[in-house]
Amino acid sequence: MLLLPKFDYEEPKSLPEALAVLSELKGNAKVIAGGTDLIVNMKKGTLKPACLVSLKKVEGLRQIVREGGGLTIGSHVTVAEIAESATVAWVAPVLARSASGLGSPLIRNRATIGGNIVTARPAADLPPALMVLGAEAMLKGNGKGRSVPLDSFFTGPGSSVIETGEVLTSISIPSAPPFTGAHYVKLGHRAALEIAIVAVASRLTLYKPDGVIVDARIVLSAVAPTAIHAVSAEKALTGQRPSEELFAKAASLAVTDCSPITDIRGGAGYRRDMVNALVRRTLTKAYHDASGEKEGGA
């Protein structure tokens, strides 16, 4: 049986109290939310915080709020709540889709959106969808707050711009422009309890239903140290009229944007081929939704 090491546990009752505790403990404390990643790493001995700080008594971190056509999601909202939320399904269906493929039903009932972001795993399930949606992370530190676009949040496997003493409190998703569609595909060996071999999220915005592409976003996951935009593919799509040939061209460009490794889950060459296939597939579906009747978001 895997045992946990010794540590202290604090349950501050407000955010200012939590920030004070964290700043006092400096780097020796970690925030525990769902614990589905943290407790595993502590059992395996890869993380040894002297103190865990739970924010379960802090109010205002567990809400999904619709704001001016967009969404604000509290960092402690669970992945199951996101997968099942009618609001998320309407405003950001691509996020609901990626949430419903994370871990297992048991994991989703504990895991939180904030935890899935701050652990900064290269194959994390939610960041690709959040990045194509243009999401921003709200960080609160002792006496200051700042908002960081998710595009510039991750700095490497397990590392991000979050500083010691800072807490991720919410994630904001702006409203999507009209004629926008998005899609996400996670490739794994099985449907549950799987870490992506490759995952791709794409979003297209058209000038009008039969018009040119005015905005293209493609995010590749598990094929670089962090989730990345397929920059040259995005550039090749912008201003162009959608077609199968254009999507095929963008897909081959996306392959040149990533730098996959070979590991137990898949070879680098296989991953490149899958990037090509999944970029084409997600673009085709995103275009279909963008040009369709559906109002609402991506």
Partner: protein, 156 residues
């Protein structure tokens, strides 16, 4: 340092002093002597430790006992109604959905939780609801059939 927590397990209130490093699985098994909850992998992959925490099935090996302070928990010991088995327990026994039995408590809790939310699930919905619970014996077919049969019996 140990913390004093209060929690309700199978409709009984317990007040326990626990160290922060104890998981909910350990609390249930070692302190409350509720041995129906099993520990398999200990890292959230197998689902043997499934319990219902505030209405939702979770891996109790990934919940700290201190995190469960103030919570309401149902374990496999709380599923039967008095001396009569829950329909899901009945069909598991009758239809060969139990072989070695190690995954059974978790399977039954995930299944009863599904049927409370979705009384008439499709086969796909049953398989999805049980996708966090691994069984090395049955090949799942008889488990899925037992859950579907329980759903039919509960309709009556």
């Amino acid at each position: 340092m140990k913390k004093l927590i209060t929690l309700t397990v199978n409709e009984r209130v317990y007040e326990v002093a626990v160290a922060p490093g104890r998981t909910l699985t350990q609390l249930l098994r070692d302190d409350l002597n509720l041995l129906g909850t099993k520990e398999g992998c200990g890292v959230g992959d197998c689902g043997a430790c499934t319990v219902i925490l505030d209405g939702k099935p979770v891996n109790s090996c990934l919940v700290l006992a201190v995190q469960a302070d103030g919570s309401t928990i149902k374990t496999i010991e709380g599923v039967a109604i008095g001396d009569s088995l829950h329909p899901v327990q009945e069909t598991f026994v009758e239809m060969g959905a139990i072989q070695c039995g190690f995954c059974t408590p978790g399977m039954i809790l995930s299944a009863t939780s599904l049927l409370e939310k979705t009384p008439h699930p499709t086969e796909q919905e049953v398989r999805q609801a049980l996708s966090g619970n691994l069984c090395r014996c049955t090949g799942y077919q008889k488990i899925v059939e037992a859950v579907q049969e329980a759903s039919r019996r509960m309709k009556k």
